[in-house]
């Protein structure tokens, strides 16, 4: 398995990567239909929630944030897959990144589209969500810039805009190629979106500069976005939320779950689209090492967070700490430690065990573990407020479960559609001399 795609003739690469765009297999139809049904069920559940009121969720006083906020943080975390990884690799000129970047950038955009829905889904009056947009209303009253929720909205909108541009820029040369190779509506579609790309020297230089610039910008934006998401919690006066470590902890956790998502998506694409020649063991091995590093970093942050609380022994913080590690939520906490550290450490740390299959298993564990991590951060704090009379438990209802499952279906569906419209690996990057006409 030492073949690198760079050694293949460019014509062959193009054929291989354009092939999945045409024809619809039975498996494709089946997966899309299942994803559609699950997604539609989630939409129906949301409709029910809008009609009846937030009472159909398991939320209650004092646990006002539950599954929806967990999902929100989870998906925003997944969105760090792409942009951050591909931007770092692009800026450091890592040659092996070529087959990885577009798959990663697409995850970012889709995860943001999904994650960005949750602040709206969780609103008591979701139909008024636009009141949060930083824009003055008819009485010239701006929203409150002191609220972390507004920082959040601003950061996510910025990130969304940036990552769409960042996904789109390297698509342009491929879209132009596709316009050449297609007829019917596809030709018009690709032509329109290739923005009249002709492949001149000037255009290549402009594109190169734009991609470098966007990579720099997107890095800063990505770090800031997850820091701001963390601040939604740490700016609050609640025990174990009001913590300085949350910003970097959330950024590290986001990159961690992002890489895991990327490995799962890559392994799936490799199998389904027969990209064994392009997504090789070599790529998985490098990403697995990165994942192992992030797993250790995650453990370090988790220890730093919990050890200081335990040692400080402040009663209100200890109530939350106890709920997390010993009482009702302990099973989630310890499952999280096993999924995020124990399993990946064994599977990825021992060289003999580190294969594509084990890397995928470890990544799937990490995705589940990171979802639990957000749950363990959000819920026990709210369930153990400062007033002892308000202490309570939170159990989600079918509405929250349905909407959560629908988001995973939405991810699958968006990815399936995307993979039918554009090659999931940037074809032009394999051109020996992209500036020359072939």
């Amino acid at each position: 398995m030492s073949a690198t795609p760079e050694l293949l003739p460019y014509k062959r690469i193009r054929e291989d990567l354009f092939r999945p765009l045409s024809g619809i297999s039975r498996g494709y139809l089946l997966t899309t239909s299942i994803a559609f049904i699950v997604g539609a069920a989630g939409l129906a559940a949301w409709g029910y929630q809008l009609r009846r009121g937030m009472g159909v969720t398991g939320l209650q006083r004092p646990v006002f944030w539950g599954f929806y906020i967990v999902d929100f943080v989870f998906w925003i975390g997944i969105s760090h897959a792409g942009t951050l990884i591909s931007a770092i690799l692009r800026l450091t000129d890592a040659a092996w990144r070529k087959p990885v970047t577009r798959a990663a950038e697409a995850i970012t955009v889709f995860a943001l589209m999904i994650g960005g829905m949750f602040p709206i889904i969780h609103l008591g009056r979701a139909w008024l969500f636009y009141w949060l947009v930083p824009y003055p209303n008819s009485r010239l009253l701006w929203p409150n810039f002191r609220s972390p929720l507004l920082w959040d909205l601003t950061a996510i909108l910025t990130y969304m805009t940036g990552s769409v541009i960042y996904l789109y820029l390297p698509l342009i040369p491929d879209l132009a190629q596709l316009a050449e190779h297609n007829t019917t509506w596809r030709r018009r579609f690709y032509r329109a979106f290739s923005l009249g790309w002709t492949g001149s020297d000037r255009e290549w230089h402009a594109l190169e500069r734009a991609m470098k610039l966007m990579a720099c910008i997107i890095l800063a934006v990505a770090v800031s976005v997850h820091t701001v998401v963390a601040w939604d919690f740490s700016m609050a006066l609640a025990p174990m939320w009001h913590s300085t470590i949350f910003g970097p902890y959330f950024v590290a956790g986001a990159i961690f779950s992002g890489i895991a998502a990327l490995i799962v998506v890559m392994a799936t694409l490799r199998k389904v689209l027969h990209l064994e020649m392009y997504l090789t063991r070599h790529h998985f091995d490098r990403l697995a090492k990165l994942l192992l590093l992030m797993s250790l970093l995650w453990l370090y942050f988790t220890m730093a967070e919990n050890l200081t609380v335990w040692y400080g022994n402040e009663p209100k913080e200890m109530a939350v700490f106890g709920a997390r590690t010993r009482a009702h939520y302990a099973r989630f906490f310890w499952t999280m430690v096993v999924l995020n550290f124990a399993i990946p450490f064994v599977l990825l740390g021992i060289r003999r065990l580190r294969t594509i299959a084990t890397a995928t298993i470890a990544s799937a564990c990490i995705l589940a573990g990171m979802w639990l991590e957000r749950f363990v951060i959000v819920v026990p704090t709210l369930a153990n407020p400062r007033m002892p009379s308000a202490v309570s438990l939170y159990t989600p209802t079918w509405v929250e479960v349905a909407i959560t499952s629908a988001t995973f279906a939405a991810m699958v569906m968006l990815y399936l559609v995307f993979a039918k419209l554009v090659p999931i690996i940037a074809v032009w990057e394999f051109k020996p001399h992209p500036q020359e006409e072939d």
Binding site: R52, G53, G55, L382, M387
Partner: protein, 228 residues
């Protein structure tokens, strides 16, 4: 002179009868929740009576503490609201503007006293309770947050009455429903800017403490108890 409304609650007098809770429900059009919803922690009591137990049965003492919105001067609920639904009015009250609220829940999460309540469904009352709704208080729709207002409608009414008669507002002219209904006369309401008001004198007495004062929220509800 601007008013600055505050309250003193004498814990040594409180019998835990919960007349204040009932009065508040009637005055402020609080919805009635079903036993199932109540079990889920979905009841809205703008004032509640917390119980603290000392000792073991049978040698046990119960202490009662009515808890309502503490109308903090430095309220954690205010800065976090993205739409200014919760803000500080010139008389120092934390005001909740229902029409602005979109229901982000952030204010409730950031309230250390857990005194904010959400309308999980459209509010409901069994017959004939809708006939006794207070016309001075809005009925809140599903999806908005609400909480104790210090009976702001009574404050406005008292100010209007005083203005009509051309006399200044006297101490004791404003009585929120809970204060009015307290049989043990454990609750006193008044203007903290008036050093001669009953509430000011009680707040300055050595018996006054404030709930979770160490958080720096500067509450305007003073709890009076024997200093130990």
């Amino acid at each position: 002179m601007e008013h600055r409304w505050g309250m003193a609650i004498d814990l040594d007098r409180c019998t835990g009868c919960e007349a204040c809770v009932v009065a508040c429900h009637a005055e402020n059009n609080l919805p009635v929740s079903s036993p199932e919803q109540s079990e889920k922690g979905r009841t809205a009591h703008w004032i509640r009576v917390d119980r603290y137990y000392e000792g073991e049965f049978p040698d046990i003492k119960v202490k009662y503490m009515p808890v309502l919105c503490q109308q903090c001067d430095n309220a954690p609920c205010e800065p976090v609201c993205p739409v200014y639904a919760t803000y500080h009015n010139p008389e120092g009250l934390n005001v909740q503007v229902y029409n602005r609220c979109v229901g982000t829940f952030y204010c409730a999460n950031n309230c250390p006293y857990s005194v904010r309540f959400f309308n999980w469904f459209e509010p409901k009352w069994p017959d004939p309770l809708p006939l006794q709704h207070n016309p001075d208080v809005a009925i809140r729709p599903a999806g908005v947050m609400e909480k104790c207002t210090f009976c702001i409608q009574r404050i406005q009414r008292a100010k209007q009455d005083a203005a009509q008669e051309g006399v200044p507002l006297a101490d004791g002219d404003v009585q929120p429903a809970c204060v009015q209904s307290c049989a043990a006369e454990a609750m006193v309401f008044g203007d903290l800017n008036d050093p001669k008001s009953r509430v000011s004198r009680l707040a300055a007495s050595g018996r006054a403490t404030r709930l979770l004062e160490e958080l720096g929220t500067k509450p305007k509800v003073f709890y009076l108890q024997k200093a130990t």
